[in-house]
Symmetry: C2
């Protein structure tokens, strides 16, 4: 594992950590304000959400790079399967175009839930495989990789049909496209005691690593993620597996949905605490 | 799979399905009233919670058998690990005694969460293994089997350190006691696409099968379980795997925590719907 004791250039901010407002990034901050605040603190990159970008993808991407950082990724495609997935691929292709315009190498896929009328997961996963396989060449043409993100099983039904790194990796193997891989998020996979073994089999396939912590008492499924160090996830072991076993060499993206705690604080404080916790615990 | 089209004697009620009051079984019903209502509808057995039994274990157990049913199990030991586990085994031994007095062959174990000061799961699972191994001979002397219940990963941190059938089976193999096995609960394992393979390796180790459904939109982690047929779990496939692969020949226990729906209904209606859904969907 790399030594970041005196360097946090491997740290990236997912803007959701500052709050998730419809009007823009956290606490109503503009992308420009987020960029300046991250650059001032030595962050290595930023991950945006589509609704923060609008039609300014090229401008915002250039601004990030001018500040000496990377656009690490873009969140995310519309759902590809499940009740809430749009019928057509248009939205997915538009999100790929946006990632390309931003200069984000990775676009995250949260799959969507179980297809209407289906029981279990087999048919839905099969349809997901077909949709991702159909999108992959389009994304490759634009220099964008697609990261399938397995979610904690509590998000089955309406949000995902992929629950473990092992399962996401199976889909990657079936799709067999060089630009389709996996996003590993601590919140979703910390509990998986087979994670290290799964990551050994995922060499070169990890496209993103998302940091937060799993609180001992999690009061809300979506919006009660912990700051690194405040929970029970073994953050050092997971990072070691992601980097040493899977060979991930990209940035570590802090993504904390926390409606009742971190989202209520001054974003400047949150950005400072993230740097401190990253250096101490991650 | 056995044919229950015209027979639901394999159906058992977990009393939690009628509501979970401190004063007794659902909706304030006494154990006697629950027993009579289940017997009248042809249920094959009942699973009680400790707080419903008090000091009347022998009396209640006899009453169930006199009504032509079995006491399928007892919920459950106190937590054995994690912040909320009592320091001593006294409570666990008392719950084993209660199961024996009831004539319940199976006592369920929900393990408790991550031990204080620990990150990840390895040390806590090790301590759990030791505690269950120490309890197993005591339980065997009283004719009671211990069923480790893996929980949905959303219950990590404060409620469990076991998340999959495969993981629970590993503990069983380490403990290597004939009266230690697994409880398989649809709510906790429906998402696990390796479940069938795990159950093939669990031959003879499944001590309980718990039925409900996973709703497409789950609004509360603990208290929003669905009635069979209303969700996305593949109930027929899971039962087939439990019976054909793992060789489970016991009853199917319906356990629905549903504060905003089923617990608000007349228990007579709930008992009728359970019979109907069991025959149609399970």
């Amino acid at each position: 594992m790399r030594d970041f004791t005196n360097d946090h250039s491997a740290l990236a901010l997912n803007t959701a950590s500052l709050g998730h407002n419809l009007d823009g990034a956290g606490a109503g901050w503009s992308p420009e304000r987020v960029i300046d605040a991250c650059a001032a603190r030595g962050y290595g990159g930023i991950v945006f959400w589509r609704r923060e970008i609008g039609k300014r993808a090229i401008e915002i991407g250039n601004r990030v790079r001018a500040a000496g950082m990377q656009v690490v990724g873009l969140c995310r495609t519309p759902y590809l399967v499940g009740r809430d997935a749009p019928d057509q691929d248009d939205g997915a292709r538009a999100s790929i175009d946006m990632a390309a315009d931003l200069g984000a190498k990775v676009l995250t896929i949260v799959t969507g839930g179980t297809d209407p009328g289906r029981k279990g997961l087999a048919e839905t996963q099969k349809r997901l495989t077909d949709r991702v396989a159909a999108l992959a060449p389009f994304a490759a043409d634009r220099g964008v990789s697609l990261a399938l993100e397995p979610l904690n099983p509590m998000f089955g039904g309406n949000r995902t049909c992929l629950f473990t790194v092992a399962e996401a990796l199976e889909l990657c193997h079936t799709i067999a496209a060089p630009n389709v891989g996996i996003a590993v998020d601590v919140y979703h996979v910390w509990w998986d005691t087979r994670l290290a073994a799964s990551l050994s089999a995922a060499r070169g396939r990890v496209l993103g690593y998302h940091l937060c912590d799993w609180l001992e008492d999690t009061s809300h499924m979506l919006l009660d993620r912990g700051m690194m160090g405040d929970g029970v996830a073994d953050l050092l072991a997971i990072r070691r597996a992601v980097e040493d076993r899977a060979g991930y060499a990209g940035l570590c993206e802090v993504e904390i949905f926390s409606a009742e705690d971190w989202w209520k604080r001054d974003p400047n404080e949150v950005l400072d605490v993230i740097v401190d916790r990253f250096r101490r615990y991650c």
